[in-house]
Amino acid sequence: MLSLILILALVVLVVLAINVYNSLVRLRNEVRNGWSQIDVQLKRRHDLVPNLVETVKGYATHERQTLENVTKARNQAVGAQGVEAQGLAEAGLSAALGRLMVVVEQYPELRANQNFLNLQEELTATENRIGFARQFYNDSVMQYNTRTQSFPANVVAGMFNFVQERFFEIEEPAAREAPEVRF
């Protein structure tokens, strides 16, 4: 009789563990899916940058330094590995692009160039998409992390090595610094 109860309890436990395990896998897949979406959009942005630099070069000959910075930041972003490093590199690229856009304001001919306008539009759209991809990824990470930390899922998570995932933050240095005002 006792052994029967024990076996029953064991069966119940195993079934519960399987359920928890499956839900953890599902959440982790959601996180990975979210990351691959971010990746797609980041690649798109990286591909846009060389075109943009070429177009601007033709008009803004005195802005070599700014353009070089953009190219450098882009190359760093392409080579970055891991969520945190990627976030840092992307922040650098965003800042460099931001400066380029400020510089571009001084070249009305460039701002009338259709090719440049299309690239700018595409860049803005891509940045929007990166924002939404980041939102989805971070939401998934939040849900996954909460689940792996709470009982009883944390037992199963520990057994099968479900590690915490990192949030993707694009810290924009420009946004944190006080704006520079010149009169």
């Binding site: 979210g34 991809a133 989805f136």
Partner: protein, 457 residues
């Protein structure tokens, strides 16, 4: 989210099954009436076959059926870049595997819906009128609501249910007609009393079956609207966008009713039927003001924020979202509105309003026709209806009270002219008298009652 999808699938299966049963009842009755007492079984077989056929068609390409019914055409990115970008953004925000196809309906009506059997086959349909009048934030809210339906698998159920509802209604209609006109060919079994009883029973069933079908359908679809609203708030992080879009859409709904789309009504973001604000149980959608109030009371953009706002508006005891969903995360921060200026259509609208003020000053009453034309009615138009010169729709012209503007002086009624141009007034007998710009007479005789009315000014 997963819980919501599972719930939806289970409910979908039940409803489809019940719909099938409801289809069988009128089928059996029809068979009995047409072929005598033994014909009921044939009716059941026939209705079952129809149901199975419809289900197969729906599950293999129901969205195409719906799309061609409403006359939607697929668009590419170049046709409407703003709409396309918004759809893409919301697809990413919802984590869907594939960007839905985007369709446009050429209509001045403002509405949107989603259809399809799965996120992979989904299509988002937007009317031209909506596209032109929404700001980017509002359009984003509407698209996010539809993407919410896609993500929650509402679209599969709705697409199936629309076809099912359509067929139940169709069959019951046929049944009713046969009972009405073909009564003579009934079986001769039983006395006249039994036949009369059968008739009453048949008639009740024929009327009740589609009613039940509709009820069932509506009860499900209202829950879904709330869930899609909550999803939209979460995807956009900006509930105000959807709230103001809903208000804009609802503003014009009564004007643009299209009867042919009755069966499709539950699919749209705001029911296009004018009677949608009627009886509580028969509404396909929750009241729009209610939805707007909930969205506007949200303190954050998460599920828990929507649930709290729902309770705040509907009373503390009411529940809306699934408990598992609400408990899955905390509140989510809102984002500020996007910096985009209003649409061109918004500017036009403001311009038209300004023109309207001038026109009123000049003695015209502007009536906005559904076809978009602004009909300028002279202020004292003698008839109480006017036809739009472009599309021929009739509009009621508001009439002043008889005798308004006419005062009684010492020697009978006096009318003081209000403008040097065309002017006119309604005599107390109801007759409209028009005064031409060059008229310079001390008094006129009303053509209705013959009274002498003094003209001043």
């Amino acid at each position: 989210m997963w819980q919501a999808i599972r719930d939806n699938s289970r409910r979908s299966r039940w409803v489809i099954l019940l719909m099938g049963l409801l289809l069988l009842i009128p089928g059996a009755l029809l068979g009995r009436v047409l072929f005598g007492p033994g014909g009921g079984a044939w009716g059941v077989v026939g209705a079952g076959a129809i149901w199975a056929a419809l289900l197969t068609i729906t599950l293999r390409g129901g969205e195409q059926l719906v799309l061609s019914t409403v006359g939607a055409r697929e668009i590419r990115k170049e046709d409407a870049p703003r709409l396309w970008n918004v759809v893409e953004e919301m697809t990413i925000a919802a984590g869907l595997p594939k960007v839905p196809r985007v369709y446009l309906i050429d209509s001045y009506m403002q509405n949107a819906f989603a259809t399809g059997r799965s996120p992979e086959t989904a299509a988002i349909v937007v009317t031209d009128g909506l596209l032109r009048r929404m700001t980017r934030d509002e359009l984003q809210g509407v698209v996010a609501h539809e993407i919410g339906h896609v993500r929650n698998y509402d679209i599969r159920f709705m697409t199936v249910a629309v076809v099912m509802l359509g067929s139940v209604t169709l069959l019951a209609d046929t049944c009713r007609r046969v009972l009405w006109f073909g009564g003579g060919r009934r079986s001769r079994a039983g006395g006249p009393q039994a036949q009369a009883a059968l008739m009453v029973l048949l008639f009740l069933a024929a009327v009740l079956a589609p009613l039940f079908a509709q009820l069932l359908y509506l009860a499900c679809s209202r829950q879904r609207e709330f869930l899609a609203d909550a999803s939209a708030a979460r995807f956009t992080r900006y509930p105000e966008g959807l709230a103001s879009a809903l208000e804009k859409i609802a503003e014009r709904v009564g004007v643009t009713q299209e009867d042919s789309q009755r069966a499709l009504a539950p699919m749209y973001i705001v029911s296009p039927l004018a009677g949608a604000s009627g009886l509580g149980l028969f509404r396909t959608h929750p009241r729009t003001e209610e939805r707007v109030r909930i969205l506007r009371s949200m303190a954050g953009a998460g599920w828990v924020d929507y649930e709290r706002a729902f309770r705040q508006v509907q009373g503390a005891a009411s529940r809306c979202l699934d408990a598992g969903l609400v408990g899955s995360e905390g509140t989510v921060a809102l984002r500020p509105p996007s910096a985009e200026a209003g649409t061109r259509e918004d500017a036009l609208e403001r311009g038209r309003e300004a023109v309207g003020v001038f026109e009123r000053d000049l003695g015209f009453l502007p009536i906005l026709c559904e076809c978009g034309l602004r009909v300028r009615v002279p202020e004292r138009f003698p008839r109480d209806a006017i036809h739009c010169p472009r599309c021929g729709r009739a509009h009621r012209v508001p009439q002043p009270e008889p005798g308004a503007g006419v005062t009684s002086g010492s020697d009978g009624p006096v009318y003081r002219r209000r403008s040097e141009g065309w002017d006119g007034f309604r005599c107390s007998c109801g007759r409209v008298n028009q005064l031409s710009p060059g008229l310079r007479v001390p008094s006129i005789r009303c053509k209705g009652c013959g009274k002498q009315i003094r003209i001043e000014g």
